[in-house]
Homo-oligomer: 474 residues x 2
């Protein structure tokens, strides 16, 4: 058992270590390959407490209560700007529409919109929310496989920038609604390429469904079929996969131009960009965890940066007729994780500590799967926020408060000796944590935004009364 585990662990302990980083790790009781808080622009103060956006995490936990999401506004701006500028540097006309499903906190969304981001929505609720937050319809893109009639009617009546159709019957429905409104609606077609998600999504290029969609749309007097939409998946770190799909989309655009006389003016290339500090668990990781070993680490230097994607994607456009010409097409991106993951941290508190077999410890936290689903299937760094300068001599399994053995926040983590009241920080809590929150035995938690030492509520904690606010007793 130990043989394969060592071997598996070695395979993921990659990358060199800079001398300065090594000194900082020693100072924090870390091992050579542990990730430093600086990767999230977090610090450690003189009391050994984690600092987020200029606020110490322990103080935030005390003032606002736990579990608590903490959004660092400066870091959010940095990540949003990196995505936007990463592409704009290579192409004049780039739009970024934030994927609402990834982190639907209105405080975060409104902040991104203030900086110019558009909204990518996939449901009636998300469409409503974007309009409610004051996003101009011209900055709203409506996607998804389950657009209800009510949602399409709202989208067309307000004139959203683009509706990417997912099946043929949507074309007729949008034409009818647009005719009623007496306006023309811009539409795109979500296409399926030879790589990436297919299943329930989109219309195949190879199968001819996508071509059929354009032919049908061209016959509709109130539709302007002008966009191709691609979305491969989530957490993609393999640029080649992305490039292959974009190449197929460009070839399809050339074909549409030449054979159907359709000029594609918008290439919506979706999102799904991975980030350096999170990676999905492999089957090896699950096997390591099940046998009492830690999962393999992540190597933040091994992941491609957004600039890496950007240059090569834009390069591809230069090679195709549809990507060049007097009016260069608009490139639309719909990032979620790349924009919000790193600026958001989840603070939890230790409720109980129990000795376990083999000299290990179990710590039970006040939040688990109910507020933090993703650490069950991907690597997330976890810091002892209240003891950042203490040597990490003990091995802990961190559990949530639910009565289920699968309620694990992090298995086999080296930690300083923990006690009830200690604060734990789960990093990269800004993608798929909030939408996956559940009322499993507990109310759901709130969020604060921190900015250079100040903190304010953006979502208050759910009260007990809130949880049953929609109930009537028979």
């Amino acid at each position: 058992m130990i043989g394969w585990a060592r071997k598996a662990a070695k395979q993921v302990w990659l990358g060199g270590v800079r001398a300065a980083d090594r000194r900082e790790r020693r100072r924090l009781g870390m091992l050579d390959h542990d990730l430093l808080p600086a990767l999230w622009d977090a610090g450690v103060d003189a009391d050994g407490q984690l600092v987020l956006g200029g606020c110490d995490a322990v103080g935030l936990a005390e003032r606002f209560g736990t579990p608590l999401f903490v959004v660092d506004k400066a870091r959010l701006r940095k990540d949003y700007t990196a995505v936007l500028e990463g592409f704009r540097r290579h192409h004049p006309s780039v739009e970024v529409s934030y994927s609402y499903k990834t982190n639907p906190l209105p405080g975060v969304l409104r902040t991104l919109h203030d900086w110019g981001a558009g909204a990518e929505v996939i449901s009636h609720f998300e469409l409503w929310l974007a309009l409610r937050l004051g996003v101009p319809p011209e900055q709203v893109i409506f996607n998804g496989p389950a657009k209800t009639h009510e949602a399409l009617a709202l989208a067309v009546s307000r004139g959203v920038r683009l509706i990417n159709v997912d099946n043929l019957s949507e074309i007729d429905a949008i034409e009818k609604l647009a005719a009623q409104e007496g306006r023309t609606q811009r539409i795109g077609v979500r296409v399926v390429t030879s790589v990436g998600w297919s299943g329930q999504f989109g219309l195949g290029i190879r199968q001819g469904d996508a071509r059929e969609a354009f032919e049908r749309a061209r016959r509709c007097p109130h539709l302007d079929p002008c966009a191709l939409h691609l979305h491969l998946g989530t957490g993609i770190k393999n640029v080649e996969v992305y490039l292959r799909a974009v190449r197929e989309v460009l070839e399809f655009a050339d074909e549409l131009r030449e054979r159907a006389g359709v000029a594609i003016r918008f290439f919506d290339l979706g999102g799904g960009f991975g980030i350096p500090t999170v990676r999905p668990f492999s089957s090896t990781d699950f096997r390591l965890i099940a046998n009492g070993f830690p999962p393999g680490l992540v190597d933040p230097d091994a992941a491609p940066r957004i600039e890496g994607y950007a240059g090569r994607i834009v390069e591809l456009f230069r090679q195709h007729r549809s990507g060049t010409g007097p009016e260069a097409p608009v490139l639309i991106f719909e990032p979620g994780r790349a924009v919000t993951s790193r600026s958001q941290t989840l603070l939890l508190r230790v409720v109980a500590v129990k000795a376990a077999s083999g000299g290990r410890f179990n710590a039970i936290l006040d939040g688990g799967k109910n507020v933090a689903m993703p650490p069950g299937f991907e690597y997330h760094e976890v810091f002892p926020a209240s003891r950042m300068r203490e040597a990490r001599h003990a091995t802990y399994d961190l559990y949530g408060p639910l009565c289920h053995p699968g309620d694990v926040v992090r298995a086999s983590l080296r930690m300083p000796k923990l006690a009830p009241g200690d604060v734990i920080a789960v990093m990269d809590a800004g993608a798929y944590f909030v939408p996956n929150q559940m009322n499993f035995s507990n109310p759901r938690c709130g969020a604060v935004m921190v900015d250079r030492g100040t903190a304010e509520w953006i979502r208050r904690h759910e009260s007990f009364e809130d949880v049953v606010g929609r109930d009537e007793l028979p």
Copy 2:
């Protein structure tokens, strides 16, 4: 591929088929091993629509909107009574405390309490809810690995029937609170046996931790250590496993009586009883699904009935000193699934239908993982509620509305030809559906209770405004 799939499918197609059932299945266009609606006390009306509690499902979907949980009060009573009487028939003193975490709909909980059920709670919220619903503290049992100080203080001040301690430090905390209140608190110890869940839960019998807990509690003047608590897991269908654990608990009780002078008056044997119409997917099922085959069916006749457990568990008690004597101990059970699973159905509506490869179809529903998590990991019967008498000639993959390929409600299901607007019924939606609901891109759905042809709200749908009701914009 087909070879192993056929073989795997055969292994689960067990059980004989009665002639009457065969006729009914032919009438409903079903195959020989399909489960009949009568298993849930559901019917089919002259229009071919599924009938739940005397109400046709399509009418309910139209009147109340979908997604919608439908609770059949008569069936709920039947299942609750079966559990209670199943044990009472064998033992004079049995108490049933419903596991709040399984289905925390106040309308369902209050109904069960009206029939005499107690409350088994595992969090501050659930404890608060039980008291808020008017459950007398003498009928509340407080369990769980993460009892906060506030929750323990509430439990002790109100004098709940039993607190089952999960770690040694809880003993000191409860003693201190009970001393402040000037009362004695009844406590039990959650023990870990050689089978069932361990991990973060309870105190080991073999390891001596459970014994240590009783010795510590005996020295506390305000504690009455009088109970042993066992909870093995969820969906248990193997009676032998259960019996083995109960035997270890009884042996430990004998040991406590003889060596520590502690008389156990309450045996809390937890819940986790499986039901005939649901079973967890095996690795073979996942492999079948991934390769485009349906999962194996369930054989409702193969699962043990509650009476099967009851007689054999009580029999064990007769064989032990601690289970007999002038004052027979109280047996406490904490069922969840066995009480509420079958009486609750989830109604969904088809939003879009797409032809897929191989002559198959994809249907996109208005609810998926966001309202129906369990069908991702266990078998649930799914009916075409609006077309119950049409022959099931086509193969459908039923997807939810989320933008994730894993949002599958049911793979490879034979169905009549579906169209947008059709109503789909997911059976056994009364265990772990409601607590696992999420706000993933959508508001969460409400519930109605049906009773002999009438229907009334017990939880209204979440509105868009509700979803962002706790948010403040920066």
